[in-house]
Symmetry: C2
Subunit: 443 residues, 2 copies
């Protein structure tokens, strides 16, 4: 086994499951191991306690007149259950069919270790990095980074940098280098409709009072037009139109065609806002989604109840330049306006996060593209992500810099699921990518 | 304590919970006790085994040229949980505030024992009943009478009768004798919409495929017009219009005004089919109710999932002359026609039962009204019931006769709930009612 794989395997053997307090000492041991590893390659390290799992910082000697690059990663992993579905033990990494199989192989230990080994290789070969480097590795990403924003606030001076790089997103297809330059934002809320003071017998009372389960259907149905467009007044007003180059590039991005989306989702057909391709719909158009709807009897068979209340959990994926707070106000107005008679309505706002977009033609964007091109020997594609990574927006707000999303995760990497895996070639390309990236960002 | 109350209390002390197999021997002991009681008063008895709990039959000596009256009741009761909410133990009956408190006090042991004691009194006073009597008491009513129809089929010759009487429905207000002459029918179904092959991340896939939770809302919303009228094509075609006398009588029935319905339900306002009062809406107009709706995340807070499927459990309360099978076909056509794109639909038909109406001016209807009038010393009101009692339709189909619904249950009797109760005066009136009823039916 190569030195690089040996390092990754050691890292993967820690069951650093951040959500499970039984594994707190494993998370800690993993952080300690990281500190040792980072010291060994010649970096100075700091282990910062938080309310839960520590933050690991490492840096080379910083020189004036050199760019400062912050590379973020996380050393915690998701739980492994159902364990029975794993072909090999989640914390005993093996190589099969050219892939590394283990919990964390892709998310995020594999991608993170590629950065560490790239830095190690450069230091060994050149004796020095071309940039001032800050490694920022947290142990709480899988539980929502509860302590990271406060940490950034507290250490914003020491973490001052020119640009941030993260390898924790997807690449569209094997061998196709992918630069992510945008993320959708999010706004969540829950709507609760209440009717009778308790559940009623639908025979004795059906027809005489509003049924909250029927009312929730009516109010939720009002969110969309029949053609799939969101029907909330003003919802699209601040949406930045797609650039012609985006539509052109996305039309040919591998792995993101309508056919790909159809096959990955397994839906009987595609459905969404008219006038846009699947890639455009997920990466650059906002949505209104029903994440949960419920009311009345949920068990087997039938029960003739007229429920006292019903709810819907809604989330809105947002794109530049929509503002989550403004959207939530529009949503609230819409829901109250469309509330059927005979029920009372409560709208509980939930969490939100701003959409993110950076210019892939900025000097750092161009540098990232050059690094991707040289390390994969292929022309990178430029995409936005449909999901939301709140930490990226937090970095921009607290540290004032943009983030380059250099994802190495394939769509079949099984992250958060049994049989997580990472192609050896992605791991090796990631090491080359880190080396090229620091060179390009230094230019 | 009076002899009558002592008898009822003994009957109430059996925890004859038919749904709970731990209580199977209590149900059996209750049936055995009934047999002894009925023998003691001079009837001949039969205990018939079924697949679960026995049927108890008792009869006087039948003479030719005398009317035969079948009185139906059930000796099983509902479970008692949550036990903590009972003021006194459910199977230790007590009298408080002029009411008998115990599980089964109203439903159905109190009403059933009134019939038995009425017969006992008549036999003691007159030595004979004015009619051929058949008592038919089952122990499976609270579990849906799974074996009764087969029993009726098998014993239809021995059970041949002219009319049936049941005291197992409501009286509209204390002291107001109530004859029920109609019941709504029912047709149930469940609709399941399926989209992606598994739950999807709503960030990565939101906007590109149909969301089954949004689709179920859309399809359910299509069932009603905004004004509350059912929007299914042909749904009202077979509905028999209300008779002018019904609208007139119901306008002044105590306990059934719009204000009563508003106060009993606790809904913020009434809502239903335009052009009808609350009594008319529940007793003589059909409905489409959503008994349950569900899909996606049901827990606390939010989870940004795009669910693979969603469901709605629907029931339709039907009135003469709607046919449940025909309605289910209309419903299925409607649901399929209104199914949004991007999901597949499955409609599972559930149980159904025909609506029922009898003529309250028939000779037996007039006899029942005379008996109610004399035993309560008040003019009876004539109502239909909003609920469905499938056994009544089964009696008509198998035995070919109508059923008189002589309900003694008040709306605050707490049947199926903690603190079930039965006014002593209703119990005593019930005994008088049985005596008067047999006399009137004999005429």
């Amino acid at each position: 086994m190569t030195y690089d794989l040996e390092n990754l395997f050691s890292f993967l053997r820690f069951p650093s499951i951040s959500t499970d307090s039984n594994h707190a000492s494993d998370v800690r041991a993993c952080a300690d191991w990281l500190i040792t590893k980072l010291k060994d390659i010649g970096l100075t390290t700091e282990l910062h306690e938080t309310a839960k799992h520590p933050v690991v910082i490492a840096r080379n000697q910083h020189l004036p007149d050199r760019r400062t690059v912050l590379i973020y990663g996380h050393y915690d992993v998701q739980p492994v259950d159902p364990l029975a579905l794993w072909t090999s033990a989640p914390f005993e990494p093996v190589i099969r069919d050219g892939r590394i199989w283990a919990r964390g192989a892709t998310d995020n230990k594999g991608q993170m270790m590629a950065h560490i080994l790239g830095v190690e290789k450069t230091l060994r070969e050149q004796g020095e990095l071309p940039v001032n480097l800050i490694f920022l590795f947290e142990g709480e990403e899988e539980i929502g980074s509860p302590n990271l924003a406060a940490f950034l606030q507290q250490h914003r001076e020491e973490l001052r940098c020119d640009v941030i790089a993260i390898s924790d997103t997807g690449m569209v297809a094997p061998g196709v280098p992918t630069l992510g330059y945008g993320l959708r934002g999010i706004a969540c809320c829950e709507v609760i409709l209440r009717g009778p003071k308790g559940d009623l017998h639908s025979g004795l009372f059906g027809g005489v009072v509003a049924n909250p389960a029927a009312a929730i259907a009516r109010i939720v149905a009002s969110l969309h037009r029949a053609d799939g467009r969101v029907a909330i007044e003003g919802f699209y007003d601040q949406v930045r139109p797609l650039e012609p180059w985006e539509r052109e590039m996305w039309a040919s991005v591998p792995g993101a065609s309508d056919t790909d989306y159809l096959s990955v989702t397994g839906s009987p057909s595609l459905f969404g806002e008219p006038g846009y391709s699947s890639a455009e719909r997920t990466w650059a158009r906002p949505t209104a989604e029903v994440n949960g709807i419920g009311g009345g009897y949920q068990g087997e068979g039938s029960k003739t109840v007229l429920p006292a209340e019903a709810f819907a959990k809604l989330s809105f994926r947002l794109v530049p330049d929509q503002d989550p707070k403004e959207i939530l106000l529009q949503v609230q107005r819409h829901l109250e306006h469309h509330c059927p008679p005979g029920v009372t309505i409560e709208v509980k706002p939930g969490h939100d996060g701003k959409p993110y977009v950076a210019d892939p033609n900025s000097k750092f964007g161009l540098a990232a593209r050059a690094a991707l091109r040289s390390s994969f020997n292929a022309e990178p594609v430029l995409i936005r992500e449909g999901g939301s990574i709140p930490i990226v927006q937090t970095f921009r707000e607290i540290l004032g810099v943009d983030t380059l999303l250099l994802g190495l995760a394939l769509s079949d990497a099984q992250i958060h699921a049994p049989n997580e895996n990472f192609p050896v070639e992605n791991f090796e390309a990631g090491i080359r990518l880190n080396q090229a990236l620091l060179i390009e960002l230094a230019k």
